[in-house]
Amino acid sequence: MKYIFLAIAIVLTIAAFMTARMAPDLASEVPVIYWVTDTNPARQEQVRLFHQWMVDQGHYVEHVLQNEQEADAFFHRNRSTSIRRIIREVNPDAAALCDWADDRSVQVTFPQVVRLPQVELKLDMANADGTKKIIQGVSRVGGDIMDQYSGHDLRYFRAVGLNTDVTEAAHRLKFDLSTTYPAIEPELALRDANGELRQYQYPCNVNASMFFVNRATFRQHGQPLPPERMTIEEFERRGYEFVHAANAGRAKQTVFFLNNLEFEVLRRSYGGSRFNETGTAAILDEATVQAMRTQHKWMYEGRYRLMPNQADRSSFATESGYGGADAQLFSHDDPERGQYGLFWTGRYLLITFRQMNEARAARGLPPLDLGVIAPPYEKFLNTSIATRAAMVYSQSPHRDLATYFLAFLASKEYNEQIVKDGDALPPNPIYTETEAYRHPPEYPMEWDVHEPFARAAVDISIGGSYSHFILPSVAERIESTWRDRYHAGMETLEGAVARAQAEINEEIQRALAEDDRRDEPILRPLYNQLVERQRQIDALKERIQEHLAAGRPIPEEDKIPEAWIQNAFHIAYYRHLGWLKEVARSPSTQPITAVTAN
């Protein structure tokens, strides 16, 4: 047995040497930054565009190689496969030189001019887990550019000190908030202690959620196509007709009207939000109660229901990929296996639909016939908007170079690539007004679809509602736990709402108590200031109610100033109601106009 032991030891040592030798050569004179992102094949193309853009914008280092020795030294310094590829891509005129680098027998005339971008971008796609970003981030070895998903991440990462304030750079390099959708401002920027807006990220893409309509499914069950805007009452009426017709006589329901609807959108349409106007406390009022009751009705009540609940959902297959199983069920023609009439998602699902259309064409089926409609509403038409945004890691040794990447995201080349790719909406809204966006030549069946998404992102979308004093993930977890308990029958409706509100407020107070114990409290002064503001807002609201009761128009001085309100929902809602005293906006910013209910 000792021989086995020795043999294994020797084999392993040899293996160690082999592994060391097998490591690829990474020599390069250009600093490298890492982009921590998801496993989307389009990223490679975006990286290539970035390097090209850097050179086009003048952020490059130029080398004039006079003779063979200099060229040899240059290529020796830049040995890694990735930098060689970049040299080739970015210097089309020096193709011969690049060939010469690999095969010295190629003929080349000197001097040659070669440009290297100031920084090399590499992908880090093992990004399944937010935990990894946090652990590496706090240990000062995080990726230089990290993808963030909406305002949750923004606030969490800011709390841990991992993202960088890029406001000045944004103005200088032209990727400030005026170049993107106004509605996603809460997802990209935070107000500091003085009330000024500080920007931390820039969107890689933007997504407004709407309903896709499978027109073929509606026709299959003999139902009229739904209009683009509906009240909840109308929605329910059409919905129940749909499910009754589609499931007629079936013991177990397999066809549903819609697959899902974001709770926040529903609640906002009843005129409520999670927090009050200043984010100092949670106000789960009548709107929350009504939204939960409606959701419960759609999922659990009646012979045939509009929306599947968890048990129904697990009857369908489960897989990964965009949209997962729901997308499959939305798009096929077999009611026995499960079907949806409406699908709540963003424009990015077109990627999956395009693949499905290819498969359908191969089987001789016509492509999907899709339309887009807005979510139903009770008092206030709205939809949600989200973004995958990029931020610069605060401890990165190449912060300034990484900031160029954010500027790249606002560039024409990047936006056009997003438009062509169909991967949600481009960060800059003016690129949605192009023919390339609205009427992509290869996909004529999509021409009804692109424009409503873009319009929704500008017209009716509202960003998230946040509070300075509680992490969004904590608040969401509290609410969804109590919502689950209500749906499971373990709690009454009023009880669940009351408990959720109490718990959120407890958390807020706990954060404040913790802050009080610091030598220099940060949150408490802000809290006191905002509580005072809230009192003033409430006073104004009372006056407004008096005016309304008396049937008078609301005078200017009784309107609520926009600068006082932190909650994006209330800004949009009060504007819609005419209660808002607006801030004069700089001309380059597009105003949001909420559409009146019709």
């Binding site: 937010g130 935990t131 946090i134 981030g137 706090v138 240990s139 000062r140 969490y156 709390a159 841990v160 000190g161 991992l162 177990k252 609940n309 968890q310 048990a311 959902r313 697990s314 009857s315 297959a317 489960t318 605060s394 401890q395 992490l471 993930s473 904590v474 977890r477 736990t481 689950d484 308990r485 749906h487 499971a488 029958g489 373990m490 913790e514 114990r517 610091r518």
Partner: protein, 554 residues
């Protein structure tokens, strides 16, 4: 042989891991750690032993200290601070860590979700004895060396070949309607052939197959199996339920509900018999005062909980017809009352035992046996209490709505945990525990079996007196690792299959630590939760350590 009194042999009956029967000649030295009592040469030897001991330990313990012990101590200390990633790991500002004492623990205890998650964790642990038994059974089956070369092998081989051939033909002709059945037949055939030709090697590999794939693939598959109504498990169980429903509908409701009464009677009978056995242990001098009290307390846990589950409503009124019928409250009253009477009866009888005999024994004697016995009876009583309402409500369930239907498994609030336990049990059979038992079984000396045979032992006796004691060290390992794994586990399972739902029913403490810690950054609080896990495991292990040998030697 030396008469070195400072050594403690593994064969010493006082050591908890004695695996041999006392008839083997062993020494019974007194191992004392009191250095002063030893002579100088003994002390020198002790130092030399220490050198050897630490010398062999050195490579392991150095790495262990560096990579396990130090982070562990840090993490455990953090439970008493207000460690928050946002405040203390923030690269932009460093705040001083504040010691908060027991504040995290107090907040934890006050959180109702903590108790729910603790209950979930303990519930999952209840399946452990069955898992261990299952893996032991599998190991015993697989320890026989089945290699054959005689006629019957040929018979089996031919049968298998026929099966496989027919499967291939049908598949080739595209009869995919019965594809699943053919698949199963084909697989069975192939396994049979492999088993007879290759012997137990093949079976062992097949049993261990679930563990080759990383957990995620298995979890995804079980998610598919547990699909409600149309999934394979539901499809298999539904016919059984339908036939039960038929029977129930055909019988008068009172007859079915009498099952509830029977369950209650059986429950009381079990308590009577259980307490009686404990009393007899006491009278025979096999158990001490502390032991009998703890065991009796454990036995009566179900009685303590029955009021909460059944309520105390004596009558239920049917709103439609206004008629009154017996409700579950009778069960609570019956159980509580009868247990009180039973207790009084047994205590009186025990008090009439021989006083002198009683006073002489130490209180912790036999506590292991007593608790094991009491735990078994307790589970049985739980089963009775659980079945009672089932019988009681069966007529209603069978006649209203859709009748008896399979539940929504993972999505159903009441069935999520049992479904996961079923999956856990499947995984446990062909698991690492099975391998351990396989290896340990070969270490059992053949002579012991032959001796048992000579004595005319039955199969069960042979197992209980020879095999089981020899496996004691392995069982200790399996139980401790099982408790550790059970209390720490459920994390990957929850993440992939249920995300801790529905309504927090499948969130274990381990998953809670992860969610709370990395979602909010409050790792100090997470460490406090980890502490509670640690304490529970520690207590169980210590208990096993001290009292396990008593059980083995009983």
């Amino acid at each position: 042989m030396t008469l070195d009194t400072s050594t403690n042999q593994p064969g010493d009956a006082q050591s908890p891991f004695s695996g041999q029967k006392p008839e083997f000649p062993v020494m019974r030295p007194d191992y004392t750690q009191d250095a002063q009592a030893l002579s100088k040469s003994a002390r020198k030897r002790q130092r030399k032993n220490l050198a050897y001991g630490l010398g062999f330990l050195a490579p392991n313990i150095l790495g262990f200290l560096a990579f396990t012990a130090i982070p562990l101590v840090i993490a455990m200390y953090m439970a008493f601070t207000n460690w928050d990633v946002g405040m203390h790991n923030n690269p932009e500002r460093r705040e001083p860590l504040r010691f908060v004492g027991l504040e995290n623990f107090i907040r934890l205890i006050q959180m109702p979700q903590f108790w729910q998650y603790l209950g979930n964790t303990l519930f999952f642990m209840m399946g452990m004895p069955f898992s261990i038994a299952g893996s032991l059974f599998a190991a015993i089956l697989l320890s026989k060396d089945l290699k054959g070369g005689s006629n019957r092998t040929w018979t089996i081989l031919i049968a298998g070949a026929v099966l496989v051939a027919s499967t291939l033909m049908l598949v080739a002709w595209g009869a995919s309607g019965t594809a699943m059945a053919m698949l199963i037949a084909g697989l069975t055939g192939m396994i049979l052939i492999g088993g007879t030709a290759g012997g137990t090697t093949v079976y062992r590999t097949l049993f261990y197959v679930p563990h080759f794939t990383a957990g995620v693939a298995t979890y995804l598959l079980w998610k598919k199996l547990f699909v409600p109504d149309t999934g394979p498990i539901a499809a298999a169980v539904q016919p059984v339920l339908t036939s039960i429903e038929g029977v129930v509908r055909a019988s008068p409701p009172a007859a079915v509900q009498s099952g509830f009464v029977i369950c209650m009677l059986l429950g009381a009978a079990l308590i009577f018999l259980g307490l009686g056995r404990l009393r007899r242990y006491w009278e025979d001098g096999e158990i001490g005062a502390a032991g009998v009290l703890l065991s009796a307390a454990l036995l009566m846990v179900p009685v303590a909980l029955v009021g909460r589950w059944y309520g105390f409503d004596l009558y239920a009124e049917d709103p439609a017809t206004g008629s009154r019928s017996m409700d579950l409250g009778w069960g609570s009253i019956w159980l509580l009352g009868s247990t009180a009477l039973i207790l009084v009866y047994h205590i009186l009888r025990a008090l009439r035992a021989d006083h002198e005999f009683v006073e002489k024994r130490q209180p912790w004697l036999g506590v292991g046996t007593g608790l094991m016995f009491a735990a078994t009876v307790m589970v049985a009583v739980f089963v009775m209490i659980g079945l009672g309402p089932v019988f009681h409500n069966l007529p209603t369930w069978a006649t209203t709505g859709d009748g008896l239907k399979t539940p929504a498994w993972l999505a159903d609030v009441h069935w999520a945990k049992p479904s996961l336990m079923i999956m856990g049990f499947w995984g446990a059979i062909g698991s690492n525990n099975m391998l351990l038992y396989l290896a340990a079984l070969t270490n059992v000396p053949q002579e012991l079996y032959e001796a048992a045979d000579i004595d005319g032992a039955s199969r069960f006796q042979r197992f209980w007196s020879v095999t089981w004691p020899q496996l004691a060290p392995t069982t200790f390992f399996v139980v401790v690792m099982g408790v550790i794994g059970g209390l720490q586990g459920g994390f990957e399972m929850a993440r992939v299959m249920t995300q801790g739902g529905p309504a927090g029913q499948t969130t274990t403490l381990a998953y809670f630590i992860y969610k709370e810690g990395f979602e909010t950054g409050r790792l100090g609080f997470s460490s406090a939760v980890a502490w509670t896990l640690f304490l529970m495991v520690f207590v169980v292990t210590l208990f096993n350590w001290k009292f396990g040998n008593k059980y083995v030697n009983d």
